[in-house]
Symmetry: C2
Subunit: 256 residues, 2 copies
Amino acid sequence: MKTEHKEKMKKRRRNLKLTVAYDGTNYHGFQRQNKCVAVQNVLEEVLPSIFGDSIEIAAAGRTDAGVHARGQVINFFSDGMIPLENIPRAANRLLPKDIVVTDAQVVDRDFSALHSAKRKKYIYKLHHNKIPDPFLRRYSWHYEYSLQLEPMQEALSQLVGKHDFSAFRAAGGAPGSPVRTLYEASCQKKGDIFTFCFWGNGFLYHMVRNIIGTVVKVGNGKISPAEFAEIVQSRDRNKAGKTAPAAGLTLWQVYY
Amino acid sequence: MKTEHKEKMKKRRRNLKLTVAYDGTNYHGFQRQNKCVAVQNVLEEVLPSIFGDSIEIAAAGRTDAGVHARGQVINFFSDGMIPLENIPRAANRLLPKDIVVTDAQVVDRDFSALHSAKRKKYIYKLHHNKIPDPFLRRYSWHYEYSLQLEPMQEALSQLVGKHDFSAFRAAGGAPGSPVRTLYEASCQKKGDIFTFCFWGNGFLYHMVRNIIGTVVKVGNGKISPAEFAEIVQSRDRNKAGKTAPAAGLTLWQVYY
């Protein structure tokens, strides 16, 4: 029955791929919720009025409550005739200002925003200062304790490559292999902003925020880069640090 | 009676000067309101619990609803004994996250945040792009039409010096001389962000936003820099452009 429905959807005129940016502060994550408002609820409410048919969205990544996106990717099948180049403007006129469609493409019938994704990039921002900044509070973790860049860079470099990331996997995530490949795990500092970049073939539930919560212990001198490596090898979530706040995290880009 | 009250206040132990940064998006301006929440309402509610006495704030500038501040300055007299260096942390623990005390000083008894201010700097940000940005929407004017930097720079340079700014004065502002001196009126562009800087000995009600609304007509090619100068000389508010959106404006710094 479900397959039948999917096949029916696939007979629609176009498979549309939209890139979506959002300030996640006021949403309960991306994935549709019944009792609270997620980004998907808003998109599935607004897009039908542009396309003229009901919309069922598949998305590249399920961002959590408070997590942001610059390059979330969604796709759906539609018979709607609106010219491609008019889609972002038409959507943005109806969407709340914290959700923006930045691009629209027609893609192959077998493209899936979720299943076709090959790599993803996440950026995490930390504001390192005794005094908070009201303009950064929605988009960074405000951290006021001692924090050294170099030990964090050393710890993160050990994550590059293919690893079992069980130590950073949240309870409650989907089952499946905990092995992922990271192409980049880095940290740069500019003024009082630390920017962490993670680029990989996939990410476990809470993986980036759990890595951040642990690597900050390295930056703070509580554990050494070698102990960080031991935590990874232990595959024991209880040995790693706390989950870092959602506000600092942004799904930056999805690669197909 | 009012003078008597002021004299009584002045007998308190310290005259305190606080620097305050705030994201003005959710406030009805700085100045205390009865029916809605202004930044001053919040400060006058929170600060007494730190100082132990009632607080009456004087502020350098009354920012409008939706306008931000990095360097708003307030002062008040208090008998409270809290050590100076503990004030920002104690205040920020109690304040909502969009209002931050960034600095505290003890100042001379005759210092007034309002009357002692010699110069102020305002920054206005405009995001020039067909597509809005959900992370800039609270802090900039999203402008999607043609916009040239050089004509705006030429127009603004004519504002430097001592001028009658009646053409940019909002109805409803306080009476008094419309003459102000600007030391800087400039515009720079980085990527798709235009940053306007105004530095002067004082500003009329809505003056910066009215200048922006007019100079953008120059950037858009609707009027020339020479016609901009004629509008200034006309001293006629009806000849100038619309008031630019509040979100782009930040009270950057106050000089004493």
